[in-house]
Amino acid sequence: MSDGHAEQPHPSVGLDDVVHHRARLGILTVLGQVRKATFSYLKSQLRLTDGNLGRHLEVLAAEELVTLIKGYEGRRPRTWVEITDAGDAALAAEIATLKQLVSRFEQHGALPRQDR
């Protein structure tokens, strides 16, 4: 699957990226608040499927934005996800970028579509 690495953007790749972007920012946002959460907590907060969430977490863990801690609660396996400092920084930076984008749009918002 694409992680935004593809150089040749197929239209559906762009759409995928937007959805991924949102889900991953969502994961970081929730973890930014609670610091540490179980897999099932994240699943219910973000309304993602098991496979979907698992894949996103793997991508985030590969970039060391979150750490996955697999453990047991009694005899049931339970995965905890914890945000790293890099994750905090990435979330803050990306939110700042989005805000900048929105405010730039609002400043020139009177005629947004004319030059397109």
Binding site: T29, V34, E94, T97, L101
Partner: protein, 356 residues
């Protein structure tokens, strides 16, 4: 906030070093030499100390930050154009700071802490001396290059602004929803309230020979209360499947325990306990808890001057029974009122957290 406190402590150490150097110079230069450290310090020595500290702050701030700030990765900037403040602005800022600390510490040392905690309530974490000099304290980026967003969470360059706004709204809702799941401030507020109510009981001065009881009480109550708080956080985290670890609170509890034992024979137990809960409020980003702990710490810290005042009242009006009552039970009343206030605040917070 943590960086600001660290910087303030380091600069306080530098100021203390200045005090020591000035003090020693005076002691050795004086003829005949000073033999007792309790000898009154003449005004010109205090003035020299104040001016030296002011010069130190001005000189370092003009270039962008005091030594403590540089270590903590902070800088002072002009509020409008983000350039270093320059000599005049630095001089004003340092003058207001030195004057505020000097005047407040003259009344009581805990008021200095209160002064710095004002930053919680001023937008942009500024303090009166920042406002007076139109400066602000900023964190410097650790890397020179602009912060790169990792690919996994970076938006496509062609992201539509409308969509960006939708994402931001979405994330804000998510943030508030998950924040509502944290039982952050209510339990420590209630625990601190109970500690102070029980402290009101333990502080009854008519225990007479058992005068060691209040001190012993504070040595035990702080760490135990913090341990209960940590346990409670752990319980909620297990139940909800989310929440910060309790390790930081355990560390705070141990530190408070050590500090309470070391200071067991100074009347500092109540203030140390409040400082522990203040630390919990800071690490858990709870304004309510931070403010409540700061207020109780300051009130408990002011107990000595308060006691002196009530003793003075009793001596001045020996025939008014209320004055005697205040003298004998003043601390108890103050602690009880404080404890009740915290309990009310804690239960209101708990109700809000449960309904969220």
């Amino acid at each position: 906030m943590g960086a600001r406190s660290g910087a303030a402590v380091l600069d306080a150490l530098v100021a203390y070093a200045i005090v020591l150097v000035c003090g020693w110079t005076w002691m050795f230069a004086k003829n005949p030499p000073v033999t007792s450290s309790y000898q009154a310090v003449p005004g010109y020595v205090s003035a020299t100390v104040l001016i030296a500290v002011w010069l130190y702050l001005t000189g370092t701030t003009a270039g962008g930050g005091t030594l403590g700030m540089r270590v903590a990765g902070l800088r002072v900037r002009h509020a409008d154009n983000a350039s270093p403040p320059g000599l005049a602005r630095a001089a004003v800022r340092s003058l207001v700071l030195v004057a505020a600390v000097w005047l407040l510490s003259g009344v009581h040392s805990t008021l200095v802490v209160a002064y710095f905690l004002l930053m919680l309530f001023i937008p942009g974490h500024r303090l009166p001396h920042d406002l007076a000099a139109a400066t602000t304290v900023v964190r410097v980026a650790t890397t020179a290059e602009p912060q790169a967003v990792p690919r996994a969470v970076a938006a496509r360059p062609n992201l539509d602004p409308t969509r960006a706004r939708a994402i931001l709204t979405d994330l804000e809702n998510l943030r508030q929803r998950s924040a509502g799941d944290l039982h952050r401030a209510s339990v420590p507020l209630i625990v601190l309230g109970l500690i102070e109510l029980a402290g009101a009981g333990a502080d009854l001065r008519q225990f007479g020979d058992l005068f060691v009881l209040p001190w012993l009480y504070w040595v035990v109550a702080g760490p135990v209360g913090l341990a209960v708080t940590a346990w409670w956080y752990r319980r909620f985290r297990r139940r909800d499947g989310a929440g910060p670890g309790e390790r930081d609170i355990v560390v705070i509890a141990v530190l408070v325990g050590c500090a309470a034992v070391v200071c067991a024979f100074l009347p500092l137990g109540g203030a140390i306990t409040a400082a522990g809960f203040l630390a919990v409020g800071l690490v858990r980003h709870s304004r309510v808890l931070t403010a409540a702990a700061a207020v109780s710490g300051i009130v408990i810290g002011l107990e000595q001057p308060f006691h002196a005042l009530s003793t003075g009242l009793t001596n001045a009006y020996p025939h008014v029974p209320a004055a005697h009552l205040l003298d004998q039970h003043g601390t108890t009343v103050v602690l009880a009122v404080l404890g009740m206030g915290l309990l009310v605040a804690g239960s209101l917070t708990l109700r809000r957290e449960l309904s969220a």
